[in-house]
């Protein structure tokens, strides 16, 4: 990257990449919100719309990969610029998976609403709210280069895991009492599992943000972060 003109152009492209990544994050988050709302309201139309609504996310997934690829090839970025693009590639994949999980939730919901409700849904909407917040915070952390916020996302993942375990234990008791609830209860267990996975993707994004900003790799055993490039 020789001239300042070059650098300016690169920075503009990088900015554009971030904007599109945020758009994608917004779409993925909305898909999750609608899927869970469809479940809670037993709204089959809404559920079907979520299932059919994957296309914009898939298009952005491909577009963003292309942008990253082009930036790498044309500018051969170094240091923080390189880390930003590598982070964008990974975040892109995470967001696409979140979109897929929203569809999985909608599909399980479509099965679920065929049966009578097993119970009043309390913890699943709570899980959904946490997962969405984690996703939003992770993306905000990405845009603001805020490692403190990213760390908060990592800390929140445990809450989600605990809720999933709690839901599982509670539904077991329903299934033991009445085998007729097994099918819909399994759907709810699946849904809680999908929400927990969404939290995992938000966690991945938060880890990528920390890597992008401070070059510290905090994956697998947070706190023992090693800087990249060390031999």
């Amino acid at each position: 990257m020789a001239s300042t003109e070059h650098v300016r152009h690169f920075q503009e492209e990088l900015e554009q990449l971030k904007v599109r990544l945020l758009e994608m994050g917004g779409l993925a988050e909305e898909q999750v919100r609608l899927a869970v709302q469809g479940l809670v309201d037993r709204d089959r139309d809404l559920i079907d719309r979520v299932i059919a609504g994957d296309e914009p996310l898939n298009r952005l997934h491909i577009e963003l990969d292309g942008r990253c690829f082009t930036l790498l090839a044309l500018y051969q970025p170094m240091a923080v610029d390189l880390r930003s693009i590598v982070a964008a590639v990974k975040i892109n994949t995470d967001l696409e998976r979140v979109g897929d999980l929203a569809i999985n939730i909608a599909e399980a919901s479509r099965q679920y609403v065929v049966h009578a409700p097993v119970k009043k849904l309390i913890d699943i909407p709570r899980m959904a709210a946490i997962a969405q917040r984690m996703l939003r915070d992770a993306l905000d952390a990405f845009v603001r280069r805020d490692t403190i916020l990213a760390q908060r996302v990592l800390d929140e993942d445990d809450v989600l895991d605990d809720l999933k375990t709690q839901i599982f234990r509670e539904l077991i008791t329903y299934m033991l009492q009445d085998p007729g609830t097994i099918e819909p209860a399994l759907d709810l267990i699946l849904i809680s599992r999908h929400l927990e996975r969404i939290g995992d993707h938000a966690t991945n994004i938060a880890e990528d943000v920390i890597f992008m900003v401070s070059a510290k790799d905090v994956r697998h055993h947070a706190g023992e972060g090693t800087e990249t490039g060390r031999r």
Partner: protein, 274 residues
């Protein structure tokens, strides 16, 4: 040339200086200051360079990297009004000690320049020249063998073996540069200094020089100045970043280009200045 009496300097390593583990330093530079008249071109540079590694010196124009390179074989001696403080030891010997013969030093520390500068002689004579003046070949046959092995080492033999006695000036730019490398290798140095060796070459010729650097490091210690950051990233094991005569940071090359410790280094390698 004023040689300042240097008491054994306390090793001062800046927090971001790369400290090589294992093998002792081939080139050990301590608290080096260099002056062109009143102007200080190098400011308290301490750097250890390990054997059989490629060290790339990067930094904006005028940052002192070429001055640093040229001080390793005392090429700066020929510029009037220059002055050196601190020490540079090669294999533990201070190269600025009065007992050191700069001509002998330059045989051990070869140099390749930005612009290829073959003598207006035949290809053979270009490589044989250093061998003749240093009386390094005992016979005509021995001379021929040394010329051939040097040209082979510089990955040029196959292209010139049938025209060894034609003018070196008829070679292409890339070939001329490899001829200069062969000429430097002929006198069997341990260290090879390269001052932007590929900056005047096309991408293919550049690639050949880079491949050559990779092969040569098995036998030589190489220090290269380059303005091309990608080139530094591709060919070197260690990268040292200079700015305004100071060594700002030196570290493993993959560290410098993925996660440098210093803000200045990061700004430079990402093209934000320089």
């Amino acid at each position: 040339m004023v040689q300042t009496a240097v008491p054994v300097p306390t090793p001062t390593v800046t927090p971001t200086a790369f400290v090589p583990a294992g093998a002792p330093a081939k080139i050990d530079v301590r608290q080096l200051n260099f002056y062109y008249g009143p102007r200080r071109a190098l400011d308290n540079v301490t750097l250890q360079i390990r054997p059989h590694e490629v060290t790339a010196l990067i930094g904006p124009s005028g940052c002192g990297k070429s001055t640093f390179l040229r001080s390793i074989n005392r090429m700066n001696d020929i510029i009037p009004g220059t002055r050196v403080e601190g020490s540079i030891c090669i294999d533990g010997q201070d190269i600025y000690a009065p007992s050191v013969d700069p001509v002998d030093l330059r045989r051990r520390v070869g140099m390749v320049f930005q612009k290829s500068n073959p003598f207006p002689k035949s290809i053979f004579e270009n490589v044989a020249y250093g061998l003749r003046i240093n009386r390094l070949a005992r016979s005509r046959d021995a001379l021929g063998e040394r010329v051939e092995s040097s040209l082979r080492s510089a990955a040029l033999w196959d292209e010139v073996k049938d025209r060894l006695h034609t003018s070196a000036l008829a070679l292409s730019g890339g070939q001329q540069q490899r001829l200069c490398i062969a000429r430097a290798l002929a006198v069997e140095p341990d260290i090879l200094l390269m001052d932007e060796p590929a900056s005047a070459l096309d991408p293919i010729a550049t690639q050949r020089i880079e491949e050559l650097i990779y092969q040569l490091k098995a036998r030589y210690t190489i220090v290269i100045v380059t303005h091309n950051m990608q080139q530094a990233a591709r060919v070197s094991d260690v990268t040292a970043f200079f700015w305004l005569g100071k060594l700002i940071e030196s570290d493993r090359t993959n560290k410098i280009f993925t996660a440098p410790s210093q803000k200045l280094t990061e700004d430079y390698v990402t093209g934000r200045f320089g």
